[in-house]
Amino acid sequence: MTKQITNIRIGIYLCDCDGKVSKKVDLNSVKVAIQSKAEFEYIRAVEVACTKAEREQIVAEIDKYSLNRLLVAGCSDPFIVRQFLQLADDKGINRYNVEFVDLSAAESVGAAVSAVDTALNRLHLRAEVGYEELAVIPDVLVIGAGSEAAAAAKAIAKNQPVVQIDNVGTRVIGLDGFPGAFTVILLENGQTVKKDFGAIVLALGAVPQYDKSKYGGVELGADVLSLSQFINAGKDYAGKKVGFALGKADEDSLLSFAAVLKAALDLKEKGASEVSIIYEDMKICADGLEQEYERARKKGVNFLKYTGEFQITRFASGIAFMYREPFLADPAKIVADYIVLAEDFVPAAGTLELAEIFDIRTGPGGFFQKDNVHSLPIRSNRAGIFFVGSCHGPIHGTDLYNEIEAVLAEVSAFAKGKVSVPSLQPKVEAEKCAVCLTCYRCCPHHAIEIVHGEEYNNMYFSAARMNPLACQRCGVCAAECPGKAIQLPLYSDQEILFEVQQPARIVAYACENSGFLASEFAKTLDPELQKDLQIVEVPCSGKIDIIYLLKALENGADGVMLCVCHKENCKFVWGNDRAEQRKVRAQQILNQVGLGERIDFVHVAANQGNQFNTAVKAMAEKIRQSGTNPGKVVK
């Protein structure tokens, strides 16, 4: 169990909201009831808590009674929430130690007292959350040789020191440490050297690759060039006819489209006699490309749209594209001196190796980064390691600069050499840590290290430790720990199991990014359904420990739901997949002892209130069929 700090001093403020609450519930009775049963330092009923005078008095009382946790029961209006959080912040009580109770919904003194009591218990169970001031290295390592890397390095260098390596001459062979203090092991002139950086930016770019199978087996040659050959050759094409083909390769990006438009305009400028571009869909959905397309048309570049297939055929007069044109009887024929074919883009050499060394995921096409909306364009699964440009999938033009600026915003947090972060990463109780590496291996963010020393009170003198800057607080480690050695502050086992001591008929463990928000939306659609439903919020479905499922049932729930993000949408890479595995096992555990189907696993997004309600109804139907839970343990 979580270690409790011994000097918890809670102040309780019962706010009448100018008489609103006491219309239904006598606040004084609430106060008396709480005084008789609960543990706290100070309690006061207030007429209106959100006045300046009250604010000053509360500040004085915090000092006088040395309060370090606050409970505010009243209207829960965002205004008062904000005011109390700020006031607490000013007094050094952080936001995690302030709890709000909405009394506006309470119908009786009993209901109000029990709501306050629950919140009070939560405050008692809550681990101390302090702020850690951490020294960080402002230096940033940019990896890549191309123009993207150079642009990134140049932009970051305005703020903080940058080292750029090409990963060819100087190569990364290892990585240690965490954001703010990475140690990169480099191979430099045959020597191994270690260098420290606060953050790493990968900007390896993508490389073009001609794939002849996309062009009916046509080999490149004197008059058939790949787009990159054409650009690199920089030959004089004055008086020549050049034809470009788009649409067979590089469908995933705009790079070829942008490059062809630029080349076509350039050719026109330098006196090519005819420039034609055949294409299937003219992809111009980036800043400035539509305008470039218009300009090319005005300059007399021929744009010819084909559908499906075209052939490349040689004639005496030159080489030609042939394709079927619906408005003409004969196939259309575009004859040119040179034809230029768009290529695919593939990850630059070294992408896969770096992904392995850095323990970062790759996605479609072998580029860096999973295709997950939470990654935005620039994030990896590890804090402090970012992507810029085509190494996470070919990108074009202004998108690159926007990405660089976004990365700049992230790495600039380290520019001052120190950061202050709430100490919210999971805490490990060394006595229980078997140093089994389960957490280390399950962590989606490579945020865990094994540390050694006399202070780790177990037979290994070692324990897992979560890095405050790398940890993203999903809680997967805590849920997987076989020794129950890991507790996530604000979501400890004690705190969560406390919620389900006397569960509703259906308990829904809901990810705060999806299921929980969906349930809030769902409430507005069908308030009736809430009667038998209890929502327990978790930071990620990966935090839903198998014991949470069983305990809810043991304590009398008839059904349990896991409301999780859609597949491939987990903010923490695989939290929802881990949750699904646990659901399967928990249901097996029930089946083994004949308790029936009682667990549902639901993919639901924040905006799917209807789907949430449908799932609740399905759960209700399922437990109607399975009957009342016979496994309920009477204490």
């Binding site: 229980k432 078997a434 089994c436 590496l437 389960t438 291996r441 399950c442 177990n458 037979m459 997987e480 720990c481 076989p482 020794g483 129950k484 050695a485 420990d545 198998i546 014991i547 069983l550 305990k551 049932l553 043991e554 555990i589 029930l590 083994q592 002892v593 004949g594 308790l595 016979p630 496994g631 309920k632 343990v633 009477v634």
Partner: protein, 227 residues
């Protein structure tokens, strides 16, 4: 590391049928590391048994306790208080721990909550593979560091046999997946080491008595007369 798997719960329920109050004893050693008998699994099994017994109208009270190592007497002493309160113990430690805890408290019946499987390596979360048979006569020097006893289905000292095909063993594994042929692995490793000549050395028959129990191992230089 010793690798164990949870016993089917119906077996455990059968064992516990006569009892009203039991202790489930976990171990923080190998069985925690192999995710079978640590504090977490103790909690899961306890919850499952409580629910099963409630369903049958025969409620049971379960104490849960996990200590350092059940294969050491000193740690087992910590169970004293709880053992005194219960009718029986279920141990989630390996076979050694179960017996040793039982020896410590001979008047309380003890039951196994796990099947002890093997000496294995944790390949990745949720997967373990056998690496050692504890045969008492190591031949890894002759086989490129890969054990033919543990990793060849027939424990052949001079393999492979005719059942090795495309690097796989003809024996289908209990987990229904291909078993790599141990001797293929040895061949590949020796080949990589440039020691293929070792393949043609005949390894003489082992003294299997060393692999048979009951075995005792005594270091006279370390034994301590405490009288």
């Amino acid at each position: 590391m010793i690798v164990a798997e949870g016993k089917p719960v119906e077996k455990i329920l059968e064992m516990l049928a006569p009892y009203k109050k039991v202790l489930i004893a976990g171990c923080r050693g190998c069985v925690t590391v192999c995710l079978t008998g640590g504090e977490k699994e103790v909690g899961i099994l306890a919850s499952q048994i409580r629910m099963a017994r409630s369903k049958d109208g025969n409620p049971i009270e379960i104490l849960e306790q996990t200590e350092e190592r059940q294969c050491d007497a000193e740690y087992n002493a910590k169970f004293l208080e709880n053992v005194g309160k219960v009718d029986a113990i279920v141990s989630l430690a390996c076979g050694i721990g179960i017996q040793y805890l039982g020896e410590k408290y001979p008047l309380t019946p003890i039951y196994p909550g796990v099947n002890t499987l093997m000496l294995g390596a944790n390949i990745d979360v949720g997967r373990w593979e056998e690496r050692c048979f504890a045969c008492g006569d190591c031949v890894l020097d002759k086989t490129g560091g890969i054990c033919p006893i543990a990793r060849c289905s027939k424990s052949l000292l001079n393999g492979p046999c005719g059942g090795s095909q495309f690097g796989k063993c003809e024996v289908s594994a209990p987990v229904k997946e291909d078993i790599p042929c141990g001797w293929q692995l040895i061949y590949d490793r020796l080949s990589a080491l440039g020691q293929l000549d070792k393949m043609s050395e005949i390894i003489p028959a082992k003294n299997w008595l060393r692999a048979k129990g009951p075995r005792t191992y005594v270091r006279e230089d370390l034994t301590l007369d405490r009288s």
